[in-house]
């Protein structure tokens, strides 16, 4: 490869980041409110929920899978955790159990996909409906309220550490851990390999089924973690929480350059993808653009990201 091609390849990897920087500079000029500390922190807090789900989705998509159930799973996990809280359980224990429930619900997805040999799209389309239904049954369609006045639980969604919103810290901590997992661990390598070619991976001794079950479990757990941020902020669990969240999460992953075919992508890209979506929402709000138009812009950005990605991979 000559240097021109190399340069182009490098730039295409940076594409989403450059896009983000251009957007930020543009919005800085368009709106005085954009570059205030309050607004930046607010923006980061807003994206933390989507980012957490999208981090899990990155793993799933790297294995050439997809998880449509994240939104419903978030609602079910949150409602069940809220139920535990109202029963008077120790808040920290309830949160821990809630995360385990998320892990379990995700593992069910993974088991259906691997042991039942159902395509991920279909399997999670089914559980998306089932989990949503189960949430409605459990909550009777009403928000679960009166959770806890525990400081620790309020902290999850509404707290600050050194002036930084706690959800942002959670998001960054999870990001760093998962970045390390993908880059430096055997499991991370296996995730890429399974997505690259499952047959080759199995013949190289990788237990592909186990890898996939873990990936869906991780996504389940992160979805409930994201749900608990919402639950904590609202001090109630909504039965309709998380509707359409799967789309924003998938969008963040795709904008970040991870291939839906699996095997190729980076979690850094997903973080940037989530930031791009957040900046669009936030910026257009500041500019008083109608939310109807916001959808068109968001869709356009997703399309642009994929088209650019396709070009750079030719």
């Amino acid at each position: 490869m000559n240097w021109k091609a190399n340069l182009f390849k490098d730039f295409s990897k940076l594409g989403p980041l450059i896009g983000l920087i251009i957007m930020v500079i543009f919005l800085g000029f368009m709106s005085d409110a954009f570059f205030t500390l309050d607004n930046i922190l607010n923006l980061l807090r807003q994206i933390s929920v989507n980012a957490l789900i999208a981090f899990g989705m990155t793993f799933v998509i790297l294995t050439a899978g997809i998880d449509l159930s994240v939104g419903s799973l978030l609602a079910l996990g949150s409602a069940l955790t809220a139920g535990l809280l109202t029963s008077g359980m120790d808040p920290m224990l309830a949160v821990l159990l809630g995360l385990l429930i998320g892990l379990g619900l995700g593992a069910i997805n993974g088991l259906i996909i691997t042991k039942g040999k159902v395509a991920p799209f279909i399997a999670t389309l089914a559980t998306m409906t089932v989990y949503r239904g189960a949430t409605l049954v459990y909550t009777d369609g009403m928000p679960v309220t009166g959770l806890s006045d525990s400081f620790a639980f309020e902290m999850i969604g509404g707290g600050y550490v050194f002036g930084i919103p706690f959800p942002v810290i959670l998001m960054l901590a999870v990001f760093l851990i998962l970045f390390f997992v993908l880059k430096k661990t055997v499991f991370g390598r296996q995730v890429y390999a399974v997505g690259g070619n499952e047959e080759v991976s199995v013949l190289s001794g990788i237990k592909a089924d186990r890898v996939k079950i873990w990936v869906y479990s991780l996504t389940g757990m992160l979805s409930v973690l994201a749900g608990l941020i919402l639950t904590s902020r609202l001090n109630s669990a909504q039965p309709t929480a998380g509707e359409m969240f799967e789309l924003d999460a998938i969008a963040a992953v795709v904008i970040g350059g991870t291939s839906l075919m699996g095997g190729r992508g980076r979690i850094t890209g997903t973080l940037i993808g989530a930031l791009i979506i957040g900046v669009i929402d936030n910026g257009l709000n500041l500019m008083n653009v109608s939310s109807f138009y916001q959808q068109i812009v968001k869709g356009g950005v997703i399309l642009l990201a994929v088209l650019l990605d396709r070009k750079s991979n030719k």
């Binding site: 430096k184 390598r189 890429y192 690259g196 080759v200 199995v202 190289s204 001794g205 095997g263």
Partner: protein
């Protein structure tokens, strides 16, 4: 040759982004001639064909068809001049019928109605197949259910049906059984008789000497020469291809015998194979011969735990191995180089390094965390040991030649320091020079006590490399020969089910 050749390429040069892949190459093929185009992987054969068929544009030189210079800008234009290519990767859509495949893109309809005239297409399909002497393919068969050999016949029939004047065949026999090769050669003979020109690309010298009239050799994008087949021999061609004497085709074996290290007892899997019992000794190479579809690869995949056995047991060093997954086999020290490199052996989009570490995660990590140092050291060591030719460990596997890809696959398995290495068609699609290197690696391994099982459809290779030869016929062991008892004839007889 008195009259003008059908196709003539003169002084063809081509570079891709500054990298010259063809340097002033000459090539011509006459009507009714079968012309072999040979050279190691990366010599420029496919680029030359792509220029002939209009997929690539030439930088310099002239292409003449029937004496008239042409400038194809699209394969369709070449097709209109009667030039057809049968690619190594077949263009067959598996869930369509034979007829539908044959008329893909040129369906016959009732006038301009767009309604398909299936009756007419079926009739013509049958006629096309019969013209090739193929009567075992039903036009209504689903193409994907047929053997690769039969699928190949569909492609050839399709090419012939368009009144092709030149057919390019790229490694046409790679997936064919000996019988299918025979019938393919009959087809080629009849094409020749009808004045069709054939360009035949293959790594198999025996075939070239059997069927071709002339041979053109390319090396590193340069035109080395064109010879009549009758004027050269195997060694002469190989010398032209690699630019030096290669010496003996197979390295000397000095195996003297050892203890049994690996044993399989009455292994069975319903409908595929039954009652498979054999053993391999330390430092021994057991060759496994048989026809395509006899069940050889299936037996190996079962030994390795990729598919589940229904009966029987597997023993290494006298201990029974409960293999349920390839990871169990690897833990026990068994490596498996699969037949199909691209879909089962390599992560083609991944780097050489990633591919090599895939099987060696244990040795380069602790507590699940990979040590970059250990990993780089292992990759560098293995790439060096196998003399992998690449720009570096980060180069993508798909950018390598067939021989180098195979070396990467072998490297990934040497890292586990196997006690038993199973190689399934290890030299398929690999050029002569790299073949010899692979034989040398096998020799070196067995000197260190590694037992090797080598499945191969290349009979001279089986005879040249193995210490013992097991022949499989329809899922059963037909015979096991010692090296000095075996010859081409008794192996073929056993493989075909004879006594």
């Amino acid at each position: 040759m008195p009259n003008t050749p059908f196709a003539e390429m003169q002084g063809i040069s081509k570079s891709f982004s500054g990298n010259q892949v063809l340097k002033s190459v000459n090539f011509s093929v006459d009507k009714g001639e079968v012309h072999a185009l040979v050279g190691e992987n990366g010599a420029g054969k496919s680029t030359l064909i792509k220029i002939l068929t209009g997929i690539h544009k030439r930088d310099e030189g002239a292409v003449r068809i029937n004496g008239k210079e042409v400038h194809f800008s699209h394969p369709k234009e070449a097709e209109q001049q009667g030039i057809m290519v049968i690619h190594q990767e077949l263009n067959i859509i598996p869930h369509l019928t034979v007829t539908e495949n044959m008329f893909l893109g040129k369906n016959i309809a009732y006038g301009k109605t767009g309604i398909l005239n299936t009756k007419e297409m079926r009739k013509q399909c049958k006629a096309n197949l019969e013209r090739l002497g193929v009567s075992t393919i039903d036009p209504d068969d689903i193409a994907g259910d047929l053997s690769v050999g039969k699928q190949q016949m569909i492609e050839i029939a399709r090419a012939v049906s368009t009144n092709a004047e030149l057919i390019v065949m790229d490694e046409p026999t790679a997936a064919l059984t000996d019988r299918e090769i025979d019938s393919l050669f009959e087809v080629i003979q009849s094409l020749r008789k009808n004045g069709v020109a054939v360009i035949y690309i293959s790594h198999r010298m025996e075939e070239i000497f059997r069927i071709c009239d002339r041979i053109t050799v390319l090396r590193d994008g340069e035109y080395i020469g064109t010879k009549n087949v009758t004027d050269v021999d195997f060694d002469g061609i190989v010398k032209m291809m690699v630019g030096r004497e290669l010496g003996e085709r197979f390295p000397e074996r000095d195996y003297t015998g050892g203890d049994v290290i690996f044993e399989v007892k009455s292994l069975a899997r319903k409908g595929l194979f039954d009652d498979i019992s054999f053993s391999v000794k330390e430092g021994e190479i057991l060759g496994v011969a048989g026809l395509m579809g006899a069940g050889r690869s299936e037996i190996m995949e079962t030994i390795f735990g990729y598919t589940h056995k229904q009966n029987g047991s597997i023993h290494l060093n006298g201990k029974e191995l409960p293999i349920k997954h390839p990871s169990d086999a690897i833990k026990a020290g068994i490596g498996f180089i699969t037949e199909d490199r691209k879909s089962k052996g390599l992560l083609t989009d991944f780097s050489i390094g990633d591919n090599i570490s895939l099987t060696n995660m244990k040795s380069v990590s602790s507590n699940g965390i990979i040590s970059a140092n250990k990993e780089h050291r292992l990759i560098a060591e293995l790439m060096d040991r196998l003399k992998v030719k690449a720009t570096g460990a980060t180069q993508e596997a798909k950018a390598l030649s067939g021989g180098n890809q195979q070396k990467v696959v072998i490297a990934k398995w040497l890292g586990i320091e196997p006690k038993l290495l199973i190689l399934d068609e290890p030299t398929r699609g690999v050029d002569v020079g790299a073949k010899k290197e692979i034989y040398n690696i096998m020799n070196e391994l067995t000197k260190n006590g590694v037992a090797i099982i080598m499945v191969s459809s290349d009979l001279p290779e089986v005879l040249g490399v193995s210490d013992r030869i097991m022949v499989i016929y329809e899922g059963r062991i037909a015979n096991i020969f010692d090296r000095d008892q075996a010859d081409q004839e008794n192996i073929m007889t056993a493989a075909a089910g004879g006594e």
